[in-house]
Symmetry: C2
Subunit: 575 residues, 2 copies
């Protein structure tokens, strides 16, 4: 088969003038195409041969390193091809570092990889990049690693930044339902932020700040959280630290709670931005606690986090010599949308206390619960925390207020030593004084928040959720309906089965097909989800854009059905 | 002498109602005073005994670790006492981690200490802090280290933040001539930033940014630098990376150019903020190249940086097995105020090229050259750089425009791999979108900058410089007159000789006396200056505040003369 290049079904075949992927293509040199095609074929053969052998051995052994390398290389090459076709770039292959995962917003390719500072199955700098030797003279080893990880993780995001969909100016641009961004109330926010009370310039805003955050803002944050988290007593501004984004808060917490190589328990699927952040500086290992994607008699609810699972993961990690320092929770959960009950929360916290584990709990979606039958319980609402000195809350305005561009994140902790240690990093993670002032004005305008913003936001969020779930139902796609967040966690396993490729590669291929149709979705892999086939779809966007996005989504699934019929005999040969 | 507590001259004696240091004192429990006093005495005795022994051995051996410990402990205790007296705090000793250096803005206690992740001569957490055992259960080792370093480095700054001088509301507050902040044109900046063109809110500013910095801002920065650096050709926006402050730029450069333990050559005296930054994340070692504070026949100019010195330092470092990856330059220099000639610059760059060293050059004071006879040469003005792929420029608006609160720093490098690797860290060092927009408007308003801002700024800077140097001359204090920067590098060695304490401790004591008089200056130690007695005095402040500051300065020196006469017999006993 290795020489049947004319008959090989290129995974990116859909780009050949179909859908929206046909702009600016067909101009790159034939030799580039042939090179990539040839390499693809060669690796496909190896891959299929390997899979056939592996079918004979148990499931665990299948995840062999060599397979991983083939997959990653294939993944990378496919992506190069997409980029070449889309950019119409000529001259030289110009290979990028490999891209094991290609979703947006600090997402890491596969849970296990997030754990090591250099992926053992990805020595691609040496292998693929003709500049590797030259580069290593200029960059440190960690510089090379981080750069490669960044390139891999943010490639979709970069595409999107350079070619955004606009209903007036760029109808062929990318629609991004991969990034968890709340675009529902930009009109309200723009109006509010343009009011005259926002535009105050004072000396204190132009000068070096308090590295914990400006006192006026920390006071306002404490008041805000006291009210919206229903705290039993006034929260203390001295327990608040303000940094430039929640990932900065997470990263600095990881620095001051763990030494390199120490670990956090991380129930997955789990927000990939924290994994990326932990890789940049802290080198903290994430021990993945994989939640079941299948319903069982004992646990009928999919992806149910239980203390049993946590105990088991802790035990296993400890047996392998890992020093586990904490547990990371996200509530409301990202990407599942789960809102933990008060009892569940308490169980998790008590488990952590039993083993002297810190708990980092990210409540960044706390005002984004749109199902009115569900009540969110902040841990700040608890009368008493099991282990207050080891309980640390993260919050910010990026999601609930849709202003991720502010770069604003908050730590709330009663542990003064932790607050102080995190503040030390304020020197390198400070927020502009004028932004701090605007945030202060925004958070203190409780009347506007309660009477204008939140009712509008929640109603729009509900409507968008209704729309997207209706569409999904019509397409027969199953999803979790958990009542919070900006996204829905969908199961495309059934669609994957229609693809001719091996099961592990299918999500990448499907993801690329969406990309070819200028639609960005994020794969389960981004969230370190064990089972392939899950995707996160963000719906917090304007109705028109959402409609257009769902049209593209539908197109991909439909084209696939068609291809399946046409290609079946050939793909059957490959299997 | 150990029991002669009634006759011991407490170094902080001046606080007893003299000058401005008498507010809020005298309320703390007697036992706290007695405890500190007793500890001070005990250590003074040990210190003197040690010094007497050391007088018999060669200079190099004098810098013995035990002495260092005594000094640091004494330093710390003295500072605790100052704080207690000033705060009037009651109950418990509540000792902070030790504070080997107590100046503002990310300053590190002594050059050598900046090099190790845990100071070998400072095991004070274990010894002094009653909470140490408890704390270590909550914080990681690096968390404890960094927190202690931050507390030590920023204690003055914290005092200042909590009690700032204000000509109307708080005339007894701290005046800070230690922090390099430009307060000369806050009126102009406030006016400009309040204009309507600044207050634009667009969707793109509220959403996740390009992690290299918003394209519109990077383009404007490239245009701005092309013009003000007199670049021979248009600078490329793709070579610009925007992060939240120049220390973030330096820190990320250190990450991507060096692996942990690798080193940069650092001519000293040198800006302490970079030393602090290198400690937080990158763990890069700074190899100090001590410049001569004395004039010699070969080098009549004080603190002259020569290639010979660089060669020598590189050779020594290499012989001890250090892997030196780069050279850090600051031009105009901080704290000396030197502006390098084009020839000197070229020599430094060629030296670096010979040894394949990166050059990081910080040009943050480029528009703050107030001596009209001096021309600043940006390395971006060179027709060709000796090693462009290893030459990286840092700039920001904190100093030249006096808006440090914006948290804005720029990297300019032709090395795309370095730019890309540094961008990866933009995820954790991003600037608020609205701040990026205002900076863009500011930098593009060339007419305002050239016709209004710069002429006013330079004229005020000149006037402030004239005022402070006139005062210094009147007091017979020598200083460097190098024509740039917001500060003057002064020599208080002669004043130190009047102090009864050992020569190494004298600058700390003098610094504390200024502090007692609510005046913050920064010691040479902060800049890793080898010779004690040098201080940096910032003069970029309003005339009234500067006048008040110099009055306090004068008071300290005068009181000292008086004390010298009174205490001479007793202090003679100590020596």
């Amino acid at each position: 088969m290795s020489h049947r290049s004319d008959t090989v079904h290129l995974p990116c075949g859909q780009m050949r003038g179909q859908g929206l992927g046909n702009q600016g293509t067909h101009t790159q040199p034939v030799e580039v195409m042939l090179h990539v095609k040839g390499t693809l074929e060669k690796h496909m053969v190896q891959l299929v041969a390997m899979r056939q052998q592996q079918d004979l051995v148990p499931e665990e052994q299948r995840r062999h390193q060599a397979t991983g390398e083939q997959e990653a290389l294939l993944d990378s090459l496919m992506y190069q091809l997409v980029n070449l076709l889309q950019s119409g770039a000529a001259g030289g292959l110009g290979l990028q570092p490999s891209c094991p995962s290609l979703d947006v917003r600090g997402v890491v390719g596969g849970g296990q990889r997030a754990q090591s500072s250099r992926w053992p199955d990805q020595p691609v700098h040496q292998r693929n990049d003709p500049e590797a030797t030259f580069v290593s003279q200029h960059l440190s080893n960690r510089g090379i690693d981080i750069s490669a990880l960044f390139q891999a993780s943010f490639q979709d995001y970069k595409l999107y930044q350079g070619d955004k969909y606009d209903e007036d100016k760029n109808t062929l641009g990318f629609i991004n339902l991969g990034i968890s961004e709340n675009k529902l109330c930009l009109d309200l926010m723009t109006e509010r932020l343009s009011q005259s009370d926002m535009n105050v310039i004072e000396d204190v805003l132009l000068q070096y700040p308090d590295w914990s955050g400006q006192p006026f803002l920390r006071e306002e944050v404490a008041r805000f959280l006291t009210y919206y988290c229903k705290a039993p007593a006034r929260l203390d501004p001295e327990n608040v630290v303000v940094l430039n984004g929640c990932c900065s808060v997470f990263s600095t917490l990881a620095m001051v709670l763990c030494d390199p190589g120490e670990a956090f328990l991380t129930p997955t699927p789990f927000y990939g931005g924290f994994a990326f952040s932990s890789h940049l500086y802290s080198k903290v290992e994430l021990i993945l606690v994989h939640l079941d994607s299948e319903s069982t008699a004992a646990h009928p609810r999919l992806f149910q986090l239980t203390v049993d699972k946590l105990e088991q993961a802790l035990l296993e990690a400890t047996l392998t010599g890992k020093k586990v320092r904490g547990l990371i929770l996200i509530n409301p959960q990202n990407p599942l949308g789960d809102v933990y009950s008060r009892d569940s929360l308490k169980e998790y916290l008590e488990f952590a206390k039993r083993y002297s584990l810190h708990v980092i709990i990210d409540e960044i979606y706390m005002l984004s619960v749109f199902d009115e039958s569900i009540t969110f319980h902040s841990i700040l609402s608890m009368e008493s925390l099991p282990d207050p000195n080891r309980t640390h809350v993260i919050w910010g305005t990026s999601k609930d207020f849709g202003i991720s561009g502010f770069r604003f994140g908050v730590l709330y902790t009663q542990n003064k030593k932790v607050a102080s240690a995190v503040s030390s990093f304020g020197y390198l993670h400070g927020v502009s004084g004028i932004a701090q002032y605007k945030l202060y004005r925004l958070l203190r305008d409780r009347e506007w928040i309660d009477r204008v913003y939140l009712p509008t936001y929640r109603s729009r969020l509900q409507r968008a959720h209704r729309y997207i779930t209706k569409k999904l139902k019509a397409l027969g796609i199953s999803f979790l309906n958990r009542g919070s967040g900006l996204y829905v966690w969908i199961n495309l396993k059934a669609c994957l089965l229609r693809l001719w490729l091996s099961s592990v590669l299918r999500p990448s291929l499907l993801h690329r097909r969406f990309l070819d149709n200028k639609l960005i979705l994020s794969r389960g892999k981004t969230y370190m989800c064990k089972e392939p086939g899950w995707f996160r779809v963000v719906f917090a966007d304007k109705p028109l854009r959402l409609k257009q996005a769902m049209h593209r989504f539908y197109q991909v699934l439909e084209t696939q059905k068609l291809e399946l019929r046409v290609k079946q005999p050939e793909s059957a040969q490959c299997e």
